[in-house]
Symmetry: C2
């Protein structure tokens, strides 16, 4: 069997890093990452060059919670610094798990994590409309008190609790573009732009971190365009994207032209907080010339790359 | 003026990252790192290729403290993961500060941070004798209770309070050796092996993080040897190493042959927790063929590289 060498940018969802609803301990993360890394090493074994981005929602949430409990004793760090900490935390555990999986298969490829900053536009309209929930849930009075003390913005969630929301501006490009390309060209498995990358704005030619969270799938799409990936692979908890999700007409999608995807997205077929940004990321990559984007479940990763698993988005459904 | 191109590995002490005795806030760190980065950018302007390692004692101490205050709600991470978080935290702020300093000078060189694991020997005798204090100080009863609950080892400090101590094994080599060399060769300012690197042992060919702290100066010496640095530059709070430190016979040293350094170290001239490991790191680098190692103060960095500031250690004092 001969597989053509492929380059894939993989976006790992939260379920690939730790079990949903778990305690978030290092043991739990190591167990999840071991399974995830077996899937990824399987791709490396079949000749796929991997660039891996990952979510950090639960991890940065726990860092924010720790900061809050210790706030009287240790000054809390702003969101950008917490994001960088979570890149260190998840990146380290992920690199170690991937290296181990590669070694178990007798492969000589090794993994590394490059701390990544993503440049956003300081005038992105997202800064006027914070939408991305971060950190713990609060009853209303606590949220009001914290909002008063810190200036943070809170919104009510579907469960009637309140959470802090931060802006989610669009990723434009990477500060570490040149070294990213170098380590990827060298053939390493590269973990980068975890949690969507640390968002920074250019201010009088200097860089400044901002209190925001960039969507990790949109960042992965930017990364895939930058490195001329053959494939953007968004791994999540579901096997395929559905239309009519949650209704009796629910129907899984196997293949979509980018125009169809755009129409369905505009028609509100995909929820804003979950499948919406994933579809948007696929549209972004394919519109920029990317050959194909696939949304699939983690265990189906290999089948998604070499077979027909998941939902594939291409330029034209020819 | 023509300066020959030099490659230097710089080890930054705690005072370069945040003011001693400060609160440890992000603002404080940014202010210290701005000053530090001006010195570093001055070296880049004079053609010095920089690889930068840094301490993380106060930063990882604060992360441990945050973990402890939140321990009933968020499972604390082990030391190796905390070390990785601190590499993310300090690495991000340092890269941003260096980039800004380079941009202010109109230089096109840019900085990046590569998350670094350092391999130690699982049979290093340090594992049987933990010496490195980490995290907060406790009165004796609290230390005893925590020791009982966690199995952590505590020791009494000169201030009569108790602190957790962890092993400080010798750094052997880096997991990320190949990519480190690639990004350094490419001419970037590379921040690596922060806090001495995350210590890992090879166990049945797999890597496993260990609850230990590798001395950051010894790691910087390994890094300097790996990258064939012209210079190991250890920046700290004092202008020169002294013999007879704290006595009326105190005398600053300007230049030492490696054999003299070894004799003075063996004679107990340098305190174990502070100057000792710095001298040991210089000996390590010069013994492995490194041309020279300098211990100097941060503001004297440029003079230390191109002039005569600090204490220089060379193979023979010819």
């Amino acid at each position: 069997m001969s597989d053509a060498p492929l380059r894939a940018v993989v976006a790992l969802g939260g379920n690939a890093i730790s079990p949903p609803g778990g305690s978030g301990s290092a043991e739990e993360m190591r167990a999840s990452l071991r399974t995830t890394s077996e899937c990824l090493a399987g791709l490396v074994e079949r000749g796929v060059g991997l660039v891996i981005s990952h979510g950090n929602g639960p991890q940065v949430g726990r860092i924010l919670l720790q900061q809050e409990y210790a706030a009287e004793h240790v000054p809390p760090m702003p969101m950008d610094v917490c994001g960088a900490e979570s890149q260190g935390q998840v990146g380290y555990l992920l690199v170690q798990a991937i290296d181990s999986a590669l070694r178990r298969r007798g492969l000589s490829t090794r993994a590394l994590c490059l701390l990544t900053q993503v440049i956003v536009n300081g005038r992105d309209p997202a800064f006027r409309r914070p939408t991305k929930p971060v950190g713990p849930s609060y009853p209303r009075p606590d949220a009001q008190r914290i909002a008063h003390e810190t200036g943070h913005v809170f919104k009510i969630m579907p469960d009637k609790k309140w959470r802090r929301v931060v802006p989610s501006p669009k990723p434009l490009r990477f500060v570490e573009e040149a070294p990213l390309l170098q380590v990827i060209e060298a053939g390493h498995v590269v973990v980068a732009a975890g949690g969507g990358g640390v968002p920074v704005v250019e201010h009088r030619k200097e860089l400044r971190g901002v209190e925001a969270v960039v969507d990790k799938d949109l960042t992965a799409a930017r990364l895939a365009t930058l490195v001329h990936a053959d494939l953007l692979l968004i791994l999540t908890a579901v096997e395929r994207v559905q239309v009519g999700y949650g209704t009796s007409q629910a129907r899984p999608l196997t293949r979509l032209a980018v125009d169809e995807a755009r129409s369905l997205l505009a028609a509100g077929e995909f929820p804003e907080g979950s499948m919406g940004p994933k579809i948007e990321a696929c549209i972004d990559f394919v519109s920029a010339g990317g050959p194909r984007a696939v949304i699939a479940s983690l265990p189906a990763a290999e089948e998604a790359v070499f077979g027909t698993a998941g939902t594939t988005i291409v330029a034209t459904d020819g």
